[in-house]
């Protein structure tokens, strides 16, 4: 069995030695460089261009304004990060929106010329601030229901002995992947090959097909190792469309490299949320009512809903639950999924409210959660596919030493330092995408897996061989993996913590078929792996390939599927300065079977660090006048550095979820980020008595 062993990442050495070739390392002969001229007003209309001086810059080939690229919107495919296509009309919808594109022989020339393009704008009135427009929320149709209701919340609250109600907020956040996106588009006749840094090559192909009016089978999309995505590269964004369109018009390859500053406007962010949560409970802590209404900041003409209330539909047993997710349209770039979408911001509100309820009732926060433990989804009524959250509470609480917590505010100290202990439940909806994989065994016994999935740093290229090795009985070191190409078997996007389930299961299916075929060739079952080469030789085959696929089954829709967890944190504050730092963290997770404990642990630890960012540091501040996200770099946007990261211990509940996937696995990529914001806020309350309802914490 190689599943369950902590194999070292297949891509580790290349990445730490610099041998890994990222998109920006690709040199394409004759490629032109595109630089986007971006609006520096938040709203308005482009009324005139003057490109005369820009065209004088040596090396400038062409300057495109609106309507000159043969691209149109709106894009309907969900792979498009936004429906609107820049440069297809003259309207300015947000600061940073492309209003022109300079193409030149060199990037330096393009940048210089871009600075000389004179754009005359009729500015419109700009609306930016979410708090200011909270009276203008709207509900839109989205991939998930934007509201839910079971029972009668008003009646539940009437019967409640204790009611907690509060407004909770989360900040705008940016993904800040280390690798800014690079795209290179090259046409050969009517065929497009596009290299881009993406988490979903097939999604880019689908969105490009619509934007360009080209059949999908004339488009090949490829990606190398992705230098971090976190959702920002999960969808197709304007720079990818514009590079392809410009290359088509000019008949030459076009490359667009986003600058660090552009990553703040070019491919989404996690929008700020304002959440109103009301909980009603009986004296023993039994929840009688949950109401969770979340509002997220949205773009003017593009739809993205941060489903902040999603987790509250499922987390606790309660007869009366009402949730609603609304948006406010503002002059902001289009938001998008960011690790972890929906429950990432949303569980913050619910789990701080639960802490408030525990305090009001004088019930231990873990005990309150156990008393409201859901054995079936309280909104849909469906049973859970598998849920080991009780184990998580126990594992993490024991490892953390929770029983030593004294509940009184400010009661725990280490010398003069104030200490607070807080915890939260974690829950994330499980996403499952169908996928396929091809697997090839060669006469020398080596194996190759081919699938249009992606290595975004999570360990995909390490666990796929483990899965195949388990079926075939071969050494995973003899299994190579080809990813990131639409000429390979189709796979879903590498996001939503869904790749192990979808692509992993497809590899399992392919390997199973291959083994059966080998046994068929041998004419006997129970073939030894050492005999594979012999069988191929005997049948005079150089290699043998099989394609396997996997898709969620209809009958599995009878189950509610989620990742679960419990996270415990300790914060310390100097009693005078009172700036919280996380000093210890323990998380335990129920995510199904663990394929590789090393990469799984890495995902969970990375997730917790990401959550510490949400809890204490990350907020993308926006200029209320222009709508500019003002950070524009690592200097202005704080993510945790090593000194912010304490000892982190993670554990996984023993589990096999046969309903979620053939492997028994669910997703592990994002659950670690969830709950940390609330746990830290609750710990700060425990230390100081200051109730934190806004993250990042500011006291």
């Amino acid at each position: 069995m190689t599943i369950g062993t902590p194999l070292v990442r297949q891509d580790a050495v290349g990445k730490v030695t610099g041998a890994a070739r990222f998109g920006g390392d690709r040199m394409v002969d004759g490629a032109l460089e595109g630089v986007l001229v971006r609006s520096q007003v938040g709203a308005g209309e482009v009324v005139a261009f003057d490109v005369a001086r820009a065209l004088q810059v040596a090396g400038v080939v062409r300057i495109f304004g609106a309507g000159e690229l043969g691209v149109t919107g709106p894009l309907e495919h969900w792979a498009a990060g936004q429906a609107t296509v820049p440069l297809s009309d003259h309207r300015i919808r947000h600061h940073g929106q492309p209003v022109a594109m300079v193409i030149a022989d060199t990037r330096a020339a393009a940048i210089e010329a871009a600075g000389l393009v004179q754009v005359t704008v009729e500015p419109g009135s700009v609306r930016v601030s979410l708090p200011e427009f909270l009276d203008q929320t709207i509900e839109i149709k989205d991939w998930a229901p934007t509201h839910s209701a079971v029972g009668d919340v008003a009646a539940g609250l009437e019967g409640a002995v204790v009611t907690v109600t509060g407004r909770y907020t989360t900040a705008d956040r940016h993904h800040l992947a280390m690798e800014p996106s690079v795209v290179v588009a090259e046409w050969t006749g009517g065929d497009l090959e596009l290299w881009t840094s993406t988490q979903w090559v097939f999604g880019v192909r689908a969105a490009l097909a619509q934007a360009l009016g080209v059949a999908a089978d004339r488009i090949r999309v490829r990606t190398g190792p992705v230098g971090g995505g976190f959702g920002a590269k999960g969808s197709t964004w304007p720079h990818e469309i514009l590079a392809a369109a410009a290359a088509r018009v000019l008949g030459r390859p076009v490359r667009i490299r986003l600058s660090r500053a552009e990553t703040f406007v070019a491919h989404g962010h996690q929008p700020a949320t304002v959440q109103d949560v009301t909980l009603g409970a009986a004296a023993d802590g039994t929840l009688l009512a949950i109401r969770h209404q979340s509002v997220s900041a949205a773009a003017m003409d593009d739809d993205y809903v941060e489903h902040g209330s999603l987790g509250s539909r499922t987390m606790y047993r309660c007869p009366n639950i009402e949730t609603r997710d609304r948006i406010v349209r503002l002059h902001r770039p289009q938001p998008t999924f960011m690790r972890a979408p929906h429950e990432g911001p949303g569980m913050t509100g619910l789990e701080i409210a639960m802490d408030e309820l525990a305090e009001r009732l004088a019930i231990d926060p873990v005990e309150l959660r156990l008393r409201n433990y859901a054995d079936a989804d309280p909104t849909s009524g469906k049973p859970f596919s598998s849920k080991k959250l009780r184990d998580c509470y126990t594992l993490a609480a024991d490892a953390f030493g929770w029983s030593r917590r004294t509940p009184a505010v400010g009661s725990m100290r280490d010398g003069p330092s104030l200490i607070g202990w807080g915890m939260a439940s974690c829950l994330m909806s499980t996403f499952r995408f169908g996928g396929a994989a091809r697997i090839i065994i060669r006469r020398d016994g080596s194996v190759r897996i081919e699938t249009g999935s992606h290595e975004i740093g999570t360990g995909v290229s390490t666990i796929l061989p483990q899965i195949a090795a388990d079926v075939l009985g071969v050494d995973p070191a003899r299994i190579e993996v080809a990813l990131g190409d639409t000429t390979l078997a189709e796979a879903g996007g590498t996001f939503g913590s869904a790749t192990t389930i979808g692509v992993g299961s497809a590899v399992h299916a392919a390997a199973t078929k291959l083994r059966a075929s080998l046994e068929g060739l041998a004419g006997e079952p129970g073939l030894e792996p050492a005999e594979y080469s012999e069988v191929l030789k005997l049948r005079q085959l150089d290699q043998l390939a099989e394609v396997g696929s996997w898709a969620p089954k209809r009958e599995e829709g009878a189950f509610a599927m989620n990742a679960y967890g419990a996270v415990f944190v300790e914060v310390r504050l100097d009693p005078i300065v009172r700036l919280p730092r996380v000093s210890r963290c323990v998380g335990a997770y129920s995510v199904g079977r663990i394929i590789n404990p090393r990469t799984a642990r890495s995902q969970a630890v990375g997730g917790i660090i990401w959550g510490i960012g949400q809890a204490l540091l990350e907020e993308s501040r926006i200029d209320p006048v222009s709508g500019r996200f003002i950070a524009e770099g690592f200097g202005g946007y704080r993510v945790p550095c090593n000194a912010d990261v304490p000892d982190i211990e993670v554990m996984f509940a023993e589990e096999f979820d046969g309903h979620a996937s053939v492997l028994g696995a669910r997703g592990v990529g994002e659950i670690g980020t969830i709950g940390v914001g609330a746990a830290v806020a609750n710990a700060v309350y425990h230390a100081t008595g200051i109730r934190i309802r806004d993250v990042p914490v500011r006291i």
Binding site: V35, Q40, G96, V99, L116, T120, A261, I630
Partner: protein, 351 residues
């Protein structure tokens, strides 16, 4: 592209001579600031004079003075035994600055000559700076350079206004600001040097002069004047008086991130308590003004008082009597009082 000439010089005298006939020349030392300015279009010199081969990079000590070369690397200075023994707050301030990698490159003089990290000064750093409606159409066709800042900033474009006033105010100054500029100075070291009453040795065309470190910065924030150096002048050394202040002062930096972050506020100083009252005190603040802020009002307030948190709070309140707050930076008053209290009552230990 902004083409510029690059010359490497071997001495301060040569550097000064080179800059004399090129009005827009600038000096390059560690490069951790200047290179960013060049990339962001904040400066557009025609000549870059590289000082890295010059030799005013030594630390020396005599009975009265600790002398630190202007070109000394921050990491070198922080690790210097004489610095640690004579003026440990310098080591504290440097180790609280930037990151280890940057401290290996950055120089002492360069640290003092940093420019603000105000997000309006840094402006829109998109790869292309194109549309700026207020200037569009009205911009003279003869303008040589692209619009250097998307947003109002009097430091970037004289007379363009200050974006902070109607914008994001969380980092804005509360002391010594002018209506046209509420930027803060980012240096940690400068705060300590102000408290230690260090002097700068400055060399220029007119020869050598000595400047108190506080005199390097305008008294009131002036968007047109980053510092009081004359064109072509170099800071060749920082001189720290050996004595009680240098020996006792400590530095406390309050920042959101535990490392690699600028100060929300900072405090430097010490007090000496005799017969139960404050007999001697020095106090300076960072993160509150476009200069290191020597809190002389607070110092005067503390002399003769009991060394308590209440005394410190009152002293800081007195210092802030003339502070001007914006809605977004009011938090700095309480945080500053906390920093000063912590510094004086429970000073950070030495490594």
């Amino acid at each position: 592209m902004h083409p510029f000439e690059y010359r490497k010089v071997a001495s301060a005298a040569e550097a000064i001579a080179q800059s004399a006939d090129r009005r827009d020349a600038i000096y390059l030392a560690g490069g951790t600031e200047v290179v960013n300015w060049l990339k962001d279009g904040i400066v557009t010199p025609s000549l870059l004079i590289d000082l890295s081969a010059c030799e005013f990079d030594r630390v020396s000590l005599d009975a009265e003075t600790l002398s630190i070369g202007g070109l000394a690397r921050m990491a070198t200075v922080a690790a210097d035994p004489a610095v640690q023994q004579i003026a440990p707050a310098i080591t504290q301030a440097i180790e609280a600055s930037a990151s280890p990698a940057i401290r290996q490159m950055a120089t002492i003089a360069g640290n003092l000559l940093q420019r603000t990290r105000c997000p309006y000064f840094l402006g829109a750093r998109h790869s292309a700076l194109g549309t700026r409606p207020s200037a569009l159409g009205t911009r003279p066709a003869s303008a040589e350079r692209r619009v250097p800042s998307a947003e109002p900033c009097n430091r970037r474009v004289a007379g363009s206004g200050c974006g902070v006033v109607a914008g994001d105010q969380v980092g804005a100054a509360i002391l010594g600001a002018s209506p046209g500029c509420v930027a803060t100075h980012p240096s940690d070291l400068a705060v300590v040097l102000a408290v230690l009453e260090a002097e700068l040795v400055v060399q220029g065309e007119a020869g050598r002069r000595i400047l108190g470190v506080e005199a390097l910065y305008p008294v009131t924030a002036d968007p047109a004047v980053e510092n009081t150096l004359l064109r072509g002048e170099l800071i060749t050394a920082v001189r720290v008086p050996v004595g009680r202040a240098a020996g006792r002062a400590r530095y406390l930096k309050i920042r959101r991130r535990a490392s690699f972050d600028f100060a929300l506020v900072a405090a430097a100083g010490y007090w000496l308590v005799e017969d139960g009252v404050v007999a001697d005190v020095r106090l300076g603040f960072g993160g509150v003004a476009a200069r290191p802020w020597r809190a002389r009002t607070a110092e005067a307030h503390l002399i003769g008082r009991q060394p308590t948190a209440e005394s410190v709070a009152r002293a800081v309140a007195a210092e802030l009597a003339n502070a001007v707050f914006l809605p977004g930076n009011r938090y700095k008053a309480d945080l500053l009082a906390a920093a000063a209290t912590k510094l004086l009552l429970d000073p950070p230990g030495l490594p």
